[in-house]
């Protein structure tokens, strides 16, 4: 028997966890960088339909969001039909124009023509409210719109 062999060798050595904080910090920084906090709290149901011919919404241009959908749980007192949500609260159809003007006022002047309005509409909403909003946008001369959708096969839209 070798006399150099120590007793310790029989026990499994402990895994060195000194680099664990480093790994965790690396992940932490990744998520900190990619995190975008939700800008608006949704008061409505908002399940977007899917489409496969989508274009990316260009982040270089200013984007305003208009949400539409049935009031979510806890907001049933606002009714059953699809409502419009601007910023953090329910809005009427007449508020759309002033909303667009307020969004424009916050922009630098040269960016105003590039304002895109992203319509985030629940897939169960009916077109009536969307048509009204489109008409208001035309009146406000905000003509660049984007029907924001998820990506996928359109056949998935019809499943209830």
């Amino acid at each position: 028997m070798s006399k150099f062999k120590s007793k310790k060798d029989n026990a499994l050595p402990a895994v060195n966890t000194a680099s664990l904080p480093d790994i965790v910090f690396m992940l932490l920084f990744f998520f900190m960088v990619v995190t975008v906090m939700r800008e608006d709290t949704l008061l409505i149901e908002n399940v977007l339909p899917v489409a496969d011919q989508v274009e990316k919404l260009d982040k270089k241009n200013p984007i305003s969001y208009i949400y539409m959908g049935k009031p979510a749980k806890g907001y049933e007192k606002y009714g059953e039909s699809a409502k419009i949500q601007l910023n953090d609260k329910f809005a009427e159809i007449t508020d759309v124009q002033s909303f667009i003007n307020a969004e424009r006022a916050a922009l630098r002047e040269e960016m105003i023509p590039y304002l895109t309005v992203s319509l985030k509409v629940d897939k169960k909403a009916n077109m009536g409210v969307v048509m009204d909003v489109k008409q208001e946008l035309r009146k406000a001369n905000a003509l660049k719109i984007n029907y924001t959708t998820g990506t996928g096969e359109v056949s998935a839209n019809m499943e209830r």
Binding site: T35, V36, S118, L137, I145, N146, Y147, V154, N157
Partner: protein, 201 residues
């Protein structure tokens, strides 16, 4: 005086703190997935002059209150719309369109420049149905443009791209090719198959 070294800070709980933050950011992260179908609304014009468009140059798509689809007043399934739209746009009835592959049916559209798709809906139409049909119509244009790109692009030195990829490459700052030439090709194809899709209010 003994030289007392500062006691070492115990970093054992650092991992715990980092984990706590990590979990917070994991939960709050929503990776933005903003993409969709871009459309341009028609401006409101003061004096509406009546432009006379021949009936055969208009391809009417109506989605009614029950999400049923009527193409040129006939019931149609969603899956058939794309092919019907392509046949209409690519018809080239008056023979002026040298790149069309259509049937040259004199009862259908004259050429892609004159052909207009008119999408109508009613108030109770569901948004999902509307987007599905929009998607199919955009797909019809994209398909035609892709086919055309396959014919045009190899001569211009962009052999391995279809139209959609060209557009993506054009807006991609990392693309290392000749952007001016690419723009020319894109504009040519856009002119050959202009997207004339009207949403009737």
């Amino acid at each position: 005086m003994a030289n007392r070294a500062a006691p070492e800070v115990n970093a054992g709980s650092m991992a715990d703190i980092a984990f706590l933050l990590l979990i917070f950011f994991l939960v709050t992260t929503t990776i933005p997935k903003d993409s969709g179908i871009n459309r341009k609304l028609p401006p409101i014009e003061e004096d509406q002059e009546d432009v006379v468009i021949k009936e055969k140059n208009i391809f009417t798509v109506l989605i009614n209150n029950n999400d049923q689809l009527f193409v040129e007043e006939n019931v149609m399934e969603l899956s058939e719309v794309r092919a019907a739209a392509i046949a209409f746009l690519d018809n080239g009835g008056d023979g002026s369109c040298s790149y069309c592959h259509g049937l040259k049916d004199p009862k259908s559209s004259d050429n892609p420049d004159k052909a207009i798709i008119s999408l109508k809906n009613e108030r109770e139409t569901s948004y999902a149905a509307y987007i599905s049909v929009q998607n199919e119509l955009v797909a019809a244009y994209n398909d035609l443009r892709n086919t055309r790109a396959k014919e045009v692009a190899p001569k211009r030195g962009f052999s391995d791209m279809n139209f959609v990829e060209m557009e993506a490459n054009f807006s991609d700052p990392k693309f290392n090719g000749n952007k001016d030439k690419l723009k020319e090709v894109i504009d040519q194809i856009r002119n050959e198959y202009p997207e004339k899709l009207s949403e009737v209010q």
